[in-house]
């Protein structure tokens, strides 16, 4: 049993959206379907302003609301890896899970679309893996984790077992690993720098940790 979590270093994130594009490319997501969003938060008036880019995706919560409300059992939590998945063969498209998700991290896959007049070769190949009329969400690229584990690779360390957004991040702002393993990269980062999670009052125990910004001296020391 492992609990895979993602760590987002808000000090390093530049809001470049590479993770968004990498996710769409790897998962073959058509127009309108987006599993990752980079939320921009800005406050204050010049010269007293604060700004942050906050990448947001399904939090793959330990105690998720979506699994409870799902009437078909399509949305369920994989306790082995601590990832919430949607069984596309069971989902009936009622969208109750979308209402229940406090992070608004799910999308309804209405119908097949592509970016050009005709689907590209890549789109033809990947779009077949999607089902129309069901709900779509980030599952930490569970297919990559599964195939990596079969090859005895370590998720978060070996590229072939790591989510695509983490691999693609140009600023090394995303980290992935097993928080139950005290020697994992994510455990060490969280131990060193703390971190917080979004909407703790919802008591869903989300699996994405955000690292706060540091002063220049603290950052230089690291």
């Amino acid at each position: 049993m492992a609990r895979y979590v993602m760590v987002v270093d808000l000090e390093k994130c530049t809001g470049c959206q590479t993770c968004v594009v990498a996710c769409k490319m790897w998962n073959g997501l058509g127009p309108g379907i987006q599993r990752v969003t980079v939320v921009e938060k800005e406050e204050g008036e010049y010269p007293n302003v604060r700004r942050a880019y906050i990448p947001k995706r399904c939090m793959n919560c330990k105690d998720p609301q979506c699994t409870k409300v799902c009437p078909t059992g399509a949305t369920k939590r994989d306790d082995e890896k601590s990832v919430v998945t949607v069984d596309k063969d069971k989902c009936m498209g009622c969208r109750y899970c979308m209402m229940a998700c406090p992070y608004n991290a799910r999308t309804f896959y209405k119908h097949e679309q592509w970016y050009h007049e005709e689907p590209s070769a890549w789109e033809k190949k990947r779009y077949k893996e999607h089902t129309e009329g069901v709900v779509d969400k980030c599952d930490f690229c569970i297919s990559r984790i599964d195939s990596g584990l079969k090859k005895a690779l370590t998720p978060g360390v070996d590229p072939d077992a790591t989510p695509m957004c983490v691999l693609s991040c140009i600023a090394d702002a995303l980290h992935f690993g097993d928080i139950d393993d005290p020697e994992s990269n994510v455990s060490k980062i969280i131990e060193a720098r703390g971190g917080f999670r979004l909407l703790p009052e919802m008591e869903t125990d989300p699996s994405i940790y955000y690292l706060p910004k540091r002063t220049g001296n603290e950052a230089d020391k690291s």
Binding site: K24, N48, R50, T67, P71, M98, Y103, M202, Y210, T215
Partner: protein, 321 residues
């Protein structure tokens, strides 16, 4: 010339309170609105008709549930052929429970109407027809559960502050009874239909209208004080883009006009406006459901506290100070 679809991926969404759209926008949102309305009026009419021994009302209530509630729900689903899977998790999901309540209600309602039907009276032995009342009571119990469950369904959504209120449960029940009486009184005035004791329904109707008004006001107050998302939802209804639909459509039509007319009728001053007022009340309940769905807003994800957390370890509240 080739067309290329362009998405605004690079435009980062600003963190603001966002309204849910999957259950309110477009054709599918309209279907859900219709189902929510019919799921309230149909059981209400059935229960009141059974109480008044009004067979026409029971039949119409049953048909409203079967056609107005069941069919739009089915059409709303993304994968309609899998509708039967909707009853798989009654242990945790209110959609599953509602699905089961609706089916059991329809089964018992069919039996009740068959046992009470004058056309079938000669074909049904007396040893079976004596079960009319017990089965009718059972069907009414499930009609009550059917009218009540959307209140629990919405109240269980913690992500949307405007829906996360247990005042919705009594509100949906009261609206079901109120709309049931309204439609029953309208049906009673149809040619060839007779209802005994219809005048006795005016007092309970007035009680339901007043209770409904108090519950709506309580719900608005409760959600307004629950946080930014709740406040935004309430403001959308009372001063935002849904102001007319809510104040004129919902509050005036559902509460104020019917209450005034019922009060006048009750004291015997004006009876001619009763039927139009009952129809207006039904429109008002429809508008309320419309506003209710459209006012659902998700809680702000990156609140002020989150922003403070981002800068908490930096030792500076303003980076450029």
């Amino acid at each position: 010339m080739k067309q290329i679809r362009v998405e605004s991926l690079l435009a980062s969404p600003q963190d603001i309170v966002t309204f849910q759209s999957e259950w309110s926008k477009g054709g599918s949102g309209g279907l859900l609105l219709l189902a929510l309305f019919a799921g309230n009026v149909g059981p209400g009419l059935y229960m009141m008709s059974f109480l008044m021994n009004f067979t026409v009302g029971m039949l119409v209530g049953f048909l409203i549930v079967a056609v107005g509630y069941g069919l739009p729900h089915l059409l709303f689903l993304g994968r309609k052929e899998r509708f039967w899977r909707g009853m798989m998790h009654p242990d945790t999901s209110w959609i599953s429970r509602g699905f089961i309540f609706a089916n059991i209600f329809m089964g018992f309602a069919c039996l009740t109407m068959a046992l009470g039907s004058p056309m079938l009276a000669n074909m049904i032995p007396e040893s079976i027809s004596i079960y009319y009342n017990p089965i009718g009571i059972l069907s009414s119990v499930f009609a009550f559960l059917l009218a009540m469950y959307p209140g629990f369904l919405f109240a269980s959504v913690r992500a949307i502050a405007f829906w996360h209120s247990f005042l919705l449960v009594p509100l949906f029940i009261v609206q079901a009874f109120g709309s049931g009486i309204a439609l029953l009184l309208v049906l009673a005035h149809a040619p060839g239909v007779s209802l005994h004791g219809g005048e006795h329904l005016l007092f309970p109707e007035a009680i339901f209208l007043v209770t409904s008004a108090l519950l709506i006001l309580g719900h608005l107050f409760f959600t307004f004080s629950s946080g930014k998302a709740g406040r935004t939802s309430v403001m959308r209804l009372v001063s935002g883009s849904f102001k007319k639909a809510f104040l004129l459509g919902a509050l005036s039509c559902e509460i104020a006009i019917p209450l005034a007319v019922v009060a006048l009728t009750f004291v015997g001053l004006n009876k001619s406006m009763l039927i139009p007022a009952e129809l207006i009340q039904l429109c008002g309940i429809y508008f309320f459901k419309y506003c209710f769905l459209n006012a659902g807003a998700y809680n702000e994800i990156c609140s002020e506290q989150v922003f403070d957390s981002i800068y908490s370890h930096s030792g500076e509240s303003r980076p450029f100070n």
